[in-house]
């Protein structure tokens, strides 16, 4: 065999092998399950940015599982400037390639910074969340109102001025619209509010309790009604038709949420005096227990958009944010003290409420790394956050 042929053969084999190895690697990456609370941060370095722009970039990155180091130790080196407009370049230190290099214009520097982070996380195969909004309940003394803000707290504004208790906001997927519970008409009723027009209307006003609306990807609404003599889980279409009673117990069901495919509704209930999570088909049927081994008093479940996880609040002595695999075949991971978890579209960052003395503070938690940061731009006492998806 001459040496040229030999080289060609070896090259072909290597080339084929490299395909195999890379394919294996790719499969591993897509199959790799998130490890709640057990993953290291992704190290990045940041240089050239200043002032508010820099703090926005740091905030956006930190709550998505990145942390900061010098450029020699960073996996991704981020350099740029923010003189008037934002320019940024991300270099992958491992293969010395430029991952992203862009100059932005338009909107505000803040929005440019958010978009830059979104394009970076998208380039490494994650889903961007830096341009999303949250809704929440703000305490106003004896009463509360619903507010919305960018996920990092910018632009917080009231969307209700009902001068009564308003609570439990939830977004309609893909729309600038909310459902929430208002006592404006003397009873806890569910309102639908289209934020793009300012129009709102009463959605559910049965006698007794109407609360805790949650909207499926197809727009069907789950909620808690007590019109049947006890708080139970119901669901109906967005036009109110097809109302189904899904539970019929003498217990106090609460906080329904949807599976990503809209097939199941998970909620909190009590069985023989012990609180647990259950799920029931949205079309009705026998409820099934959602196993949360080793955890007392689970409530407030929220199903991740990728369908894989259920976040919830446990209450041993204080509140704890927990996640459990939605397929029921895994352990509960307790993450940080807090309550009211709501997933973002990336299925890894949660917004939740922390209690600090008498005050309630909204905070963002990256589930794999357990890194969290308060949304400190939102002042006062706030709770029940819902992250738009």
């Amino acid at each position: 065999m001459n040496s040229l042929l030999k080289r060609t053969l070896i090259s072909s084999v290597l080339f084929g092998l490299s395909f195999y190895v890379v394919a294996q690697e790719a499969i591993d990456i897509t199959k790799q399950a998130m490890k709640p609370g057990a993953e290291p941060p992704t190290w990045v370095s940041l240089s050239g940015f200043t002032g508010e722009t820099e703090s926005i970039l740091r905030f956006d990155l930190y709550v998505q599982g990145f942390n900061f180091t010098n450029s020699d130790n960073a996996q991704y080196q981020i350099v740029g400037s923010n003189n008037g407009n934002l320019q940024g370049r991300v270099t992958d230190r491992y293969n010395k390639s430029t991952l992203l290099s862009k100059a932005y214009s338009g909107a505000s520097l803040i929005q440019q910074a958010h978009l830059f982070v979104d394009e970076f996380v998208t380039a490494i195969g994650r889903k961007g969340i830096a341009q999303t909004k949250i809704a929440f309940k703000k305490d106003t003394g004896a009463n509360s109102e619903i507010y919305v803000a960018d996920f990092d707290g910018f632009g917080a504004q009231a969307v209700t001025a009902d001068n009564t208790i308003v609570a439990a906001p939830t977004w309609v997927p893909g729309r600038l619209a909310l459902y929430y519970t208002s006592y404006k008409l003397g009873n806890p009723d569910i309102f639908f509010h289209d934020l793009s027009t300012g129009q709102r209307r009463v959605f559910s006003r049965y006698s007794g309790l109407n609360t805790a609306a949650a909207v499926s990807s197809s727009g069907r609404v789950a909620m808690i009604l007590s019109k049947g003599g006890s708080p139970d889980v119901y669901d109906c279409n967005a036009d109110g038709s097809g109302l189904l009673r899904l539970t019929a117990t003498r217990e106090d069901e609460s906080s329904p949420c949807w599976s990503a495919d809209g097939e199941w509704i998970c909620y909190a209930t009590k069985v023989n005096g012990r609180r647990e999570l259950q799920k029931v088909r949205a079309t009705g049927g026998a409820p099934e227990r959602v196993s949360t081994p080793g955890v007392l008093s689970p409530s407030e479940p929220d199903w991740s958009p990728d369908g894989k996880w259920i976040a919830f609040t446990s209450q041993m002595r204080d509140f704890e944010i927990c996640v459990v695999p939605a397929d029921g075949r895994g352990q509960v991971t307790e993450l940080v003290a807090g309550e009211d978890p709501s997933w973002s579209a990336n299925s890894r960052t949660l917004v939740f409420t922390r209690r600090e003395g008498g005050r309630r503070v909204l905070s963002l938690l990256d589930v794999p790394t357990k890194q969290y940061k308060d949304v400190s731009r939102i002042t006062g006492s706030n709770s029940q956050p819902s992250w738009a998806k």
Binding site: S101, L115, L209, G240, L243, D252, S383, Q384
Partner: protein
């Protein structure tokens, strides 16, 4: 295993980088060092001012409205039965036997005031999550209602309303406050104009 694979990857040199680029087609378009100009960043859609909820929009309820609210425009009197507020154990919606005489007093009031109705308002302490407490408060109100019905009061004369943990009588963060907050208040309702 992973480390071995990574070493293999590096050893594969040029062939590898070609394949890697193939896995990330967007990289092929970018020349390292050259900055692309992004399209204008769009502004976020504005949130419009909230329109008032008019009687018309209230009647636009997408769910057909049931007979409720039976007593929504009735006159409230929170004082008449103030002494008959009942309290609950932590995380419980069972009317305690010590409180049954108070519910009996409410029933007696309704019997001697046949025009009146009552709203049982269920409340919780701040322990327990918010929507859990809104459901628990409703169960507490319903427990008061069930007790009144057992004492011979027509169920149609008893409304229930849960405030969850949103209407504490004591805003402290201690057992004494919590004890006061886990309660049913009885609000007398009389027909308008009487």
């Amino acid at each position: 295993m992973k480390a071995i694979r990574f070493t293999t990857l590096i050893a594969l040199g040029a062939a590898l980088s070609f394949v890697t680029a193939g896995c990330h087609p967007e990289r092929l378009k970018k020349i390292p060092g050259q900055t692309m100009t992004a399209p204008e960043v769009p502004s976020m859609p504005p949130i419009q001012a909230t329109m008032p909820v008019t009687p018309e929009s209230t009647n636009m309820g997408m769910i057909e409205l049931p007979e409720f609210p039976g007593h929504s425009n009735w006159v409230e009197n929170a004082e008449a039965l103030k002494g008959d507020t009942i309290h609950f154990a932590f995380d419980s919606s069972v009317v305690r036997s010590a409180d049954k005489s108070k519910v009996a007093a409410v029933a007696d009031y309704l019997k001697s005031n046949p025009q009146a109705a009552v709203r049982v308002e269920g409340n919780c302490d701040e322990r327990g999550t918010e929507e859990y407490n809104r459901s628990l408060g409703e169960r507490r109100a319903l427990a008061g209602r069930e007790e009144l019905v057992r004492l011979g009061i027509d169920a149609g004369r008893v409304d229930t309303l849960s405030y969850g943990e949103d209407k504490p009588v004591d805003t402290g963060h201690n057992e004494n406050a919590w004890k006061q907050n886990r309660r049913d208040d009885f609000i007398v309702l009389t027909p308008p104009g009487k």
